[in-house]
């Protein structure tokens, strides 16, 4: 059984077409593609676990700024009004558009937050060289939250909304929007890691 397991450790299977490959040795930052369907197969991390942990902490700080700062301000006849992400969620809810409010809250607040907290739960113990008690739970959350967190789409959406209002009012883009743009980059860096690789790192620590 152990012999067989070790043999499996040297193989990798393409998620897209099920072709079995021998795991090549990869230098930092290198990636391989499936020989059959050309889907990305494996990527050697550019950052180690501690670097990713640091990025996660940075992303959480930017996440707080993005959620509590105004995204844009509108000037009408000398009066200024601005909106935060939560302002937009509450305004949609109050006007009985519950699906818009719920999806906005889920994809821009709850899933990104879950994603970052799960990354913290996974990476903080690994950075100290141990596998955390909640490693498996954290990895499961990360996998699901990754598909449903969409700050990059929101940045573009805010720009389109501001352009639509450009004719009738003076609009200023505010710090919250720039924080969302920065968050997009950080979340992409934090969560783009190869999940199988992190499982391998954690399993290695256990042996």
């Amino acid at each position: 059984m152990v012999m067989e397991q070790r043999q499996h450790d040297r193989l990798i299977v393409c998620d897209h077409c099920d072709t079995v490959h021998r795991k090549p040795f990869l230098e930092r930052g290198m990636r391989t593609r499936c020989t059959r369907c050309r889907a990305p197969l494996e990527r050697a991390q550019r950052l180690d676990v501690r670097g990713m942990f640091a990025l996660t902490v940075a992303a959480l700080i930017v996440f707080a700024i993005a959620n509590w700062s105004p995204l844009a301000s509108i000037d009408v006849r000398g009066a200024r009004d601005d909106s935060t992400l939560w302002g937009a969620i509450v305004a949609s809810w109050d006007r009985r558009s519950f699906i818009v409010a719920a999806l906005t809250a889920l994809t821009l607040f709850f899933f990104p937050l879950l994603e970052l907290l799960a990354a913290l739960v996974v990476l903080a113990p690994l950075a100290r060289g141990v596998r955390g008690a909640h490693f498996a739970a954290g990895m499961h959350v990360l996998r699901i939250a990754r598909d449903w967190s969409m700050p990059e789409v929101f940045v573009l959406g805010t720009i389109v909304a501001v352009a639509k209002l450009g004719d009738i009012a003076t609009i200023h883009l505010r710090e919250g929007l720039f924080a969302f743009a920065a968050l997009t980059v950080l979340i992409t860096l934090v969560t783009s890691f190869d999940h199988a690789w992190l499982w391998d790192v954690a399993t290695e620590r256990d042996r």
């Binding site: 499996h8 193989l11 990798i12 299977v13 998620d15 897209h16 077409c17 099920d18 072709t19 079995v20 020989t35 059959r36 369907c37 050309r38 889907a39 995204l71 844009a72 009408v76 009004d81 909106s83 302002g87 969620i89 509450v90 305004a91 949609s92 006007r95 558009s97 519950f98 699906i99 818009v100 409010a101 999806l103 906005t104 994809t107 821009l108 990895m139 499961h140 996998r143 598909d147 449903w148 969409m150 789409v153 929101f154 573009l156 959406g157 805010t158 389109v160 909304a161 501001v162 352009a163 639509k164 209002l165 004719d167 009738i168 609009i171 999940h195 199988a196 499982w199 391998d200 399993t203």
Partner: protein, 206 residues
């Protein structure tokens, strides 16, 4: 010479990548490393994909016919706006690049996703053996562009929040946007339900 995991009786854990032997889809198996359910292929992949696609097509009709928002000022009556109407307004304002972005995110991406997934599901059912690689690429395109259709939902949330000029003007979300948001979620679930390995299961392996 290439070998596929299914021929070696190897199931790969979708969560952690661990390989296990002797997994049969009609029995319950848990991954020895992470405890997730193990399957050789995503369970009921084609049935789930079709069900979600049919729901998406049905919801896509009210999403386009019903107004996604209404603008109202003290001086004028409520004016409804549809998705395509919004694209035309942006175009007429001279923001042709934004019109193009909204058109791609709200019209092209949903239609493309639904048609590609329908084609892929049909191909698996009919056991097409040609153009395996091209169909695998189409699936990766769907995965990559899927969430960009959420754009219009965010545009409306921001407009609703920003426009309430002391009661002088207001933007109200319309029923169309709820249907549209449901289409986005359904198509994302449909692409997650489809198992691209099925494309290759019918193919002649070189």
């Amino acid at each position: 010479m290439t070998v596929r995991a299914i021929e070696l009786d190897l199931a790969v854990c979708a969560v952690c990548g661990q390989m296990s032997r002797e997994v049969h889809d009609h029995e319950r198996h848990a991954c020895p490393r992470c405890g997730s359910a193990l399957h050789l292929r995503k369970p009921n992949s084609i049935e789930r994909t079709w069900a979600l696609l049919v729901a998406s097509v049905l919801l896509y009709i009210p999403a386009n016919l019903l107004p996604v928002m209404q603008t109202q000022t003290l001086l004028s009556r409520a004016e409804p706006h549809t998705i395509l109407g919004g694209v035309v307004e942006l175009w007429n304002d001279g923001s042709w690049y934004l019109a193009a972005i909204v058109f791609i995110a709200s019209v092209v991406v949903p239609i493309l996703k639904i048609s590609i997934l329908a084609l892929l599901a049909l191909g698996v059912q009919r056991r097409w053996t040609s153009r395996l690689y091209q169909r695998a690429v189409l699936y990766r395109v769907v995965e990559a562009v899927g969430h960009w259709s959420m754009l219009d939902v965010y545009v409306i949330a921001i407009l609703v929040a920003l426009v309430h000029f002391g009661g002088l003007a207001e933007v109200l979300p319309g029923p169309g946007i709820a249907a549209f948001a449901a289409v986005v979620v359904m198509t994302m679930l449909a692409s997650a339900s489809f198992d691209p390995r099925l494309i290759f299961d019918a193919g002649d392996w070189p």
